[in-house]
């Protein structure tokens, strides 16, 4: 039984602790054991908390062992500031940086008794979709260590896939939660913009950045979202809308729901096996009582261009504070990819180019928002693949920046529109690599997409598959 601890859902871990089937200590140790066993092969962590720090957190629980995450281990993408725990956002510019405060999402998890095990490796500042653009560890795909874990929240996905933590908080600006979730065969949720506070999330592109849960399954993701969501007095962009108990509402089923299939998500160039597996999932939803409707998001074509103007523009401003005066490291420490994005963004915002680039990308944004709105008039959610291909080999995409941009084609427009999207596994390629689909929802309708994902995982076992390490 104890060897299976790492396979249990958070709810079952909590029940087991309450019923004294096992102790918090045993739960934490089960995961630490895996970190010790696999970290050298997987590179999922920039920082692993030492035993003493972990024991302090466990002791701090005291008699408070009945909160929703009491004693549940977790990790954070290294983009979240953690008081007294080194935070780098994957960049040498912040090498050794000790934050003075806690990110809101982190604080909320701490308040519920969560035990931080470490900070996950990632693309520097979130600039990338393979986690190779980092000054620290490059995470490897637990299903094939020659391949990338995805990015930019690659370390978090790899850590969950390798059962080093039961859940993590990732950050998604243009697919950075969904892409690695899909490559690593786990579940990850990009939330509606404004649903979860960004306070303490080191900014990549402020109007696109979202904070969301990554876990083995939809059930755990829903439980964590219920904890971290909501209005934050420290983030003016959070919504005052009430937070449903996503976890309690999971089991409503999907009978009668209308699922839109955006035809542009099955474009030429998309791997045939990927299309096949997503289609099989769609048939499964039909079996479960949903209705399939073909819809169109024609603006997906302008999504890549718009994103690679909006995000660099904002990042050129967001990274200006790392000017070499504070934080101890000069700007020479930015990677080539980051410099490229700063330069593109600076150019797009410059006098004389603003109208042609930045302003035009805002217009494209409006068109994309309208396209999604129109689609959601006809259906309750949309389903398509996350990535055009399964995980590429290490080094395959970094050599070609344009190819790297195109690999994000299906995950950029949701951030531009602000809508939520749930990535979850729906099968494997013939080479044994996980394939993921995404269920996109209307603004602030995480409930529907989580219910749908949950129904799917009740009927399938893909999310229970784990890599042999």
């Amino acid at each position: 039984m104890k060897s299976d601890i790492v396979e249990l859902t958070i709810k079952k871990l909590r029940d087991g602790i309450s019923q004294k089937q096992f102790s918090i200590q045993e739960v934490v140790e089960a995961y630490i054991t895996n970190i010790n066993k696999y970290e050298s092969k997987i590179n999922a962590f920039n920082t692993v908390q030492n035993d003493e720090e972990i024991q302090i957190l466990i002791r701090a629980l005291g008699n408070n062992t009945e909160k929703s995450l009491s004693g549940i281990p977790f990790s954070l993408k290294d983009a979240y500031v953690t008081k007294g725990v080194t935070t780098t956002a994957g960049s040498k510019v912040l090498d050794g940086y000790q934050p003075q405060y806690n990110a809101t999402a982190y604080q909320k998890i701490l308040n519920q008794g969560g035990i931080l095990l470490g900070k996950n490796s990632q693309d520097a500042w979130g600039h990338g979709s393979t986690s190779e653009n980092t000054d620290f560890k490059i995470p490897k795909n637990p299903w094939d260590k020659e391949r990338v874990a995805g990015g930019s929240s690659g370390g978090s996905a790899a850590a969950i896939s390798a059962r080093m933590v039961p859940f993590a908080i990732g950050e998604d600006t243009g697919g950075s939660i969904r892409n690695p979730a899909s490559f690593c065969g786990i579940t990850g949720l990009k939330v509606t913009y404004g649903r979860v506070s960004r306070y303490g999330a080191i900014a990549y592109a402020s109007s696109l950045d979202t904070v969301g849960p990554m876990a083995k399954n939809v059930e755990d993701a829903a439980l964590v979202l219920t904890i971290i969501a909501g209005k934050d007095p420290y983030d003016a962009t959070t919504s005052p809308l009430p937070v449903p108990n996503y976890f309690n509402e999971l089991k409503r089923g999907i009978r009668g729901k209308r699922i839109g299939i955006p035809k542009e998500f099955f474009q030429e160039g998309t791997d045939k096996e990927v299309i096949q597996k997503v289609k099989e999932a769609l048939y499964k939803f039909e079996e479960l009582g949903a209705e399939l409707i073909e819809v169109s998001i024609p603006s997906i074509d302008i999504g890549v261009a718009a994103y690679y103007l909006l995000a660099p523009s904002e990042t050129s401003s967001n990274l200006a504070r790392y000017d070499g005066i504070r934080y101890g490291h000069t700007r020479n420490n930015f990677t080539v990819e980051t410099m490229r994005r700063i330069m593109i963004g600076t150019y797009a915002l410059s006098a004389g180019y603003y109208d042609a680039y930045y302003k035009k990308s805002l217009k494209a944004r409006t068109i994309i928002i309208k396209d999604y709105k129109k689609a959601f008039e006809k259906c309750d959610m949309l389903i398509g693949p996350v990535n055009p291909t399964p995980a590429p080999k290490l080094g395959e995409l970094t050599s070609d920046p344009v190819q790297l941009m195109l690999s994000d084609v299906y995950t950029l427009t949701q951030n531009i529109a602000g809508i939520p999207s749930l990535a979850l596994p729906c099968g494997f390629s013939s080479t044994g690599l996980p394939i993921g689909m995404q269920i996109m929802g209307n603004m602030f309708d995480e409930t529907t997409i989580l219910q749908t994902g949950y129904a799917y995982q009740q009927a399938t076992d893909w999310h229970k598959m784990k890599p042999k390490l």
């Binding site: 912040l94 960004r198 983030d235 003016a236 962009t237 990274l319 504070r321 410059s350």
Partner: protein, 466 residues
């Protein structure tokens, strides 16, 4: 000084720090002046990784109220923007400001120079202050220190149209603006503490005359529409007099260049208050491209009409209205009304004193008398309450009205009793008169005042036969 063929074109940019309790985007105290360096800071105003700005509602409301007080339109849609530039006192690498959708636009302010004149207000917008650099010697080494206490303090910027034609007009405008800000109670507007900072924009244009070679001259001046193609901005001036001096200095400098057939360079200049001169800081070519774009961390602001009218209703009576009312209600001269309303504190003091007057007292004491006492500074209004002031005036004026005859009787009695003193006075000894005044005062038990007794004494002595 100004050549009659040319006239100065002056616009003003004024920065005013608001005296809200907290800073513009965080909960830190905004009262930075005189505090120990870096003690009023948090992740937000230090621009630490991950920190986000949350706008101060009070500061925004005050900015709108100032706009309304300056007769501005308040657009129902407004937003913040990022102004990107590098400077060590700017920890985020950008300043949160407003670019194309400021809180208030198209206003005006009436000033009085020799005659009344309207100066148009282009915009009033909200932004945050920067930190402060201190150049010091530490352990024998010259270095620059940064104090972030001021970082993120709410700052309102007021920009006029180039409607000002002389340094005196500029000073009048600034005084009037300062007065309104003080009336609204939104800022100390204390020049010495830097909570009001002035930036005049100056150029000089040729007047339309009958001169036949006007076309040739205007060509050499590079006129754009009605305005010269160049302008010079003088930065961070902290007194109305310095603003006047800097403007005069610039006008003279421009005239010299223009009369030599040169066009002054478009540039930013600094003001050296010790030497009384301006000096070049940054040329047009070195001007920043601030790469403004909408601040993604702060949602745009959408006002409703009722929110704006509610803010309007909170605006206190402003100086112009108060003068009019004082003149009408208290039958004061324009001069008295203007002086009494110069500061809202004096105006309130005056009205509190008026309130003290019961119906009975009103017959004895006019607002004009009270006004005179305050204007002529017969009392220190900071130490004497309005109640006390009224008592004082009553005491001194009552004697004159009631005891005229009695006083005469007493004086006659004293004169009769002191023939030597009267003789001494008549022979030119001033001391003797003072002695007599003292005697009368004692007899009247202090009910009459010395000045009054003295006059009466002199009158009576001259006709006495003693």
């Amino acid at each position: 000084m100004v050549d009659d063929k040319y006239e100065p074109i002056i616009g003003l940019e004024i920065h005013v720090e608001l005296k809200t309790k907290s800073k513009m985007f965080c909960g830190c105290a905004a009262s930075w002046f005189g505090k120990e360096p870096n003690t009023l800071c948090c992740p937000v105003c230090l621009g630490l990784p991950g920190a986000l700005p949350v706008p101060n509602k009070k500061a925004i409301e005050w900015c709108v109220m100032l706009g309304l007080a300056l007769n501005c339109e308040i657009p129902l849609f407004s937003k913040f923007d990022r102004k990107n530039y590098f400077y060590p006192d700017l920890p985020k690498g950008y300043q949160i400001s407003q670019y194309d959708k400021p809180f208030a636009i198209n206003g005006s302010l009436k000033i009085k120079n020799i005659e009344e004149k309207i100066i148009r207000i282009r915009r009033v917008h909200m932004e945050e202050d920067t930190g402060k650099l201190l150049h010091a010697k530490v352990d024998g080494e010259n270095c620059t220190l940064i104090d972030f206490n001021r970082s993120g303090v709410p700052l309102v910027e007021i920009v006029t149209e180039p409607d000002i034609r002389s340094s005196e007009e500029a000073r009048n405008f600034l005084k009037k603006l300062h007065q309104i800000i003080r009336y609204l109670g939104i800022s100390g507007a204390d020049m010495e503490k830097g909570s009001m900072r002035l930036e005049p924009n100056i150029s000089v244009r040729q007047l339309k005359t009958q001169n036949s070679n006007i076309k040739a001259i205007s060509k050499s001046l590079n006129l754009v529409g009605d305005y010269p193609k160049y302008k010079v901005e003088v930065k961070n001036i902290n007194s109305f007099n310095f603003a006047k001096k800097a403007i005069d200095y610039e006008i003279k400098r421009h005239l010299e260049l223009l009369s030599n057939g040169e066009t002054p360079a478009q540039e930013t200049r600094g003001w050296d208050e010790k030497k009384g001169i301006t000096y070049s800081q940054r040329s047009k070519e070195e001007a920043h491209d601030y790469r403004y774009f909408p601040e993604p961390d702060i949602p745009p602001i959408n006002w409703t009409e009722s929110q704006i009218s509610n803010l309007k209703s909170q605006i206190t009576e402003l100086p112009d209205d108060k003068v009019d009312r004082f003149i009408k209600s208290y039958r004061l001269s324009e001069y008295d009304g203007t002086i009494l309303t110069d500061s809202v504190e004096t105006a309130n003091y005056f009205e509190k004193a008026i309130e003290q007057l019961s119906n009975e007292k009103k017959n004895q004491l006019t607002p004009k008398t009270i006004a005179n006492w305050i204007i002529n500074k017969k009392v220190d209004t900071s130490k004497t309450s309005p109640e006390k002031l009224v008592q004082l005036i009553m005491q001194r004026t009552q004697v004159v009205q009631i005891d005229e005859k009695e006083l005469e009787e007493i004086i006659k009695k004293i004169l009769a009793a002191n023939p030597k003193a009267v003789a001494d006075y008549k022979s030119g000894k001033e001391q003797a008169l003072l002695f007599l005044v003292g005697q009368v005062m004692r007899e009247t038990k202090g009910k009459a005042n010395a000045e009054q007794i003295k006059q009466k004494l002199i009158d009576l002595v001259s006709i006495s036969r003693v």
